[in-house]
Symmetry: C2
Subunit: 348 residues, 2 copies
Amino acid sequence: MSESKIVDVARRAKVSVATVSRVLNRSEQVSEKTKQRVLKAIAEMNYTPNAMAKNLRSKRTMTLGIVVSDIEVSYYAEIIKGVENMANSLDYKIIICDAQNKQERELEYVSLLQNRTVDGMIFVTPYMTSKELIAVAEEGYSIAVIGRYIEHESIPCAFTDNVKIAKDVVNHLLEQGHERIAFLSGYADAIDSYERLEGYMKALRDAGLPFIPDLIDNGDFNESGGFRSFLRLREKNDAFTAVFAANDEMALGVYKACRELSIQIPSELAVVGVDNIRLTKYVTPKLSTVEQPKYTMGALLTEKLIDQMNHNEFSDRRVFKVDSKLLVRESSSYAIERSSNQGEANTS
Amino acid sequence: MSESKIVDVARRAKVSVATVSRVLNRSEQVSEKTKQRVLKAIAEMNYTPNAMAKNLRSKRTMTLGIVVSDIEVSYYAEIIKGVENMANSLDYKIIICDAQNKQERELEYVSLLQNRTVDGMIFVTPYMTSKELIAVAEEGYSIAVIGRYIEHESIPCAFTDNVKIAKDVVNHLLEQGHERIAFLSGYADAIDSYERLEGYMKALRDAGLPFIPDLIDNGDFNESGGFRSFLRLREKNDAFTAVFAANDEMALGVYKACRELSIQIPSELAVVGVDNIRLTKYVTPKLSTVEQPKYTMGALLTEKLIDQMNHNEFSDRRVFKVDSKLLVRESSSYAIERSSNQGEANTS
DNA sequence: AAAGATATTGTAATCGATTCCATTCAGTGA
DNA sequence: TCACTGAATGGAATCGATTACAATATCTTT
């Protein structure tokens, strides 16, 4: 047990506690020979400073919180990885807060900030409103947001352009000859859903195609929600030839439904998702999707947040609009599907 | 900003700090009317107790650490989820420690215990030796281990019987008519690898089959390692008709190699993995594997660890040997593969 | 109504570090 | 040798809570 405290070290090295503290923190202020003496005592006693006492005095915990709506979803897992690595390299630890898909739990974690358990917090949650997030920041807490733009000078944010994502997807499907494209949205009140719907509508309008409300349904960003949503969609209007799912998980739900209904992808139905989670490359046919630099957003924003916390002033650059990239794979391209299948079967 | 401290509340409610502290912690000891007065003051000032001060005084942080070798691997993600949920329900937070597949980083996290950043730690790491883990416990720190048996009264551990897992898999393959079964191990010095190899050898011996060293190779528990390992195996001895991979990730590496070499699974080669990660159900053909109750192990052990920390005595039950279950799917059963494929194509 | 028991409240020490301010020490120039 | 300067060191307050102990108020009981 690391029982020894700073006074024990001081006693052993025959110096005051102040001196021990100095060699630990600002060793340039102490003479070489006492410094060696103290270091020796520290080593002999196997002393490590008590982090709790340190925190109390310095008013910092060197810990960050990250709130995600479900750790198991690999979209979040990759962001966490980015956050964790950057945080560690800057000597911070991270506490993960899993809202477990329950909207109300997201805000609960703000208490970690209030009682000083963490120095700052990163929110990766589609449900909390901008207003709620801004309110937290205005109480004086350091927060950052991944996944959307926030109109507030003290909140760093990183996000991709959801409207562009949706337009890219829809344009791609139009190019493939699809004219009746269904949109499988996430929760209706999630910001991502809203913006992607907007892009979907814009792209249709630009192409001179009508907007048909029956071609839209709301899932819940999960596979099972996508499954149910797709079935509802078919009941309302089964004339569509392509589905744009607001994320990959829901697209997988569509896959499942198609398997049960014996609908061939992509020959009978094209499917495109968003996020480029790992699974997309393993399913058959491989799922077309949109890549977002998840790891990078996590790392970038963590660096920014820590920087801002430590300098206590808002940096010039706080808004990071990162690039997304459409990845056309087998699920939305009949040509690709056929040649690729052959390739996989015959290449040695 | 939650600037107010306990003295401010005391002043406002016209009581002493001790009284305020009492209504916060042991409210039965204070009269109803002063209690109400204090509560009112707390609410009016929006006071929250400073966790750092609390920690220092109580010598507890209500935080647990969990060390895994890679958060992105879904095997760990599910364990984390179990740990996190149980921890939260007992008012603990968890700090995740990602060793990022670097063996030397695992032990570094022990410093979190030494400096009292966490009250206890859960290790889910195949690389650290039992000796190292026991040494940590004997310094007086609370730890628990998932994934293997530890011979030490103060360390709760949960694990599946690796020997049994391997025997189940090999017996299953023998039943399918395979006689030359390759074993794709993980890191040679990981405990899991060692135990599974043992089970593999035992099952062969029991069946009266020879043990052929050329049918064994070491991967690294990752997909890419499985890929390379499989190619090496083929160079050494390509007469095998089945592969038992020490985990699913490596089995996926085998899939990849087979695709490149145009080897049909399962007709030309049967493949079985271990862990039942989510991906196994999405690949074609679906991967046979062994289910381990990951979430349950995480939750169970967390509960045990916290209980032990708080009662400061070792509980009667600290060793949890949980059941594993062989899941035969398409990759190791030609019959199942054919009917299942037909099923997927035709069922409505 | 007094004495003793019990319930309520307050004072002050404590947790283990950091750091301001004061003091001591060594070195320099006159 | 003395006064002065800057460097090195020490003493003690401080961070914000909890809690042992002491003091006071309230309630029983006779």
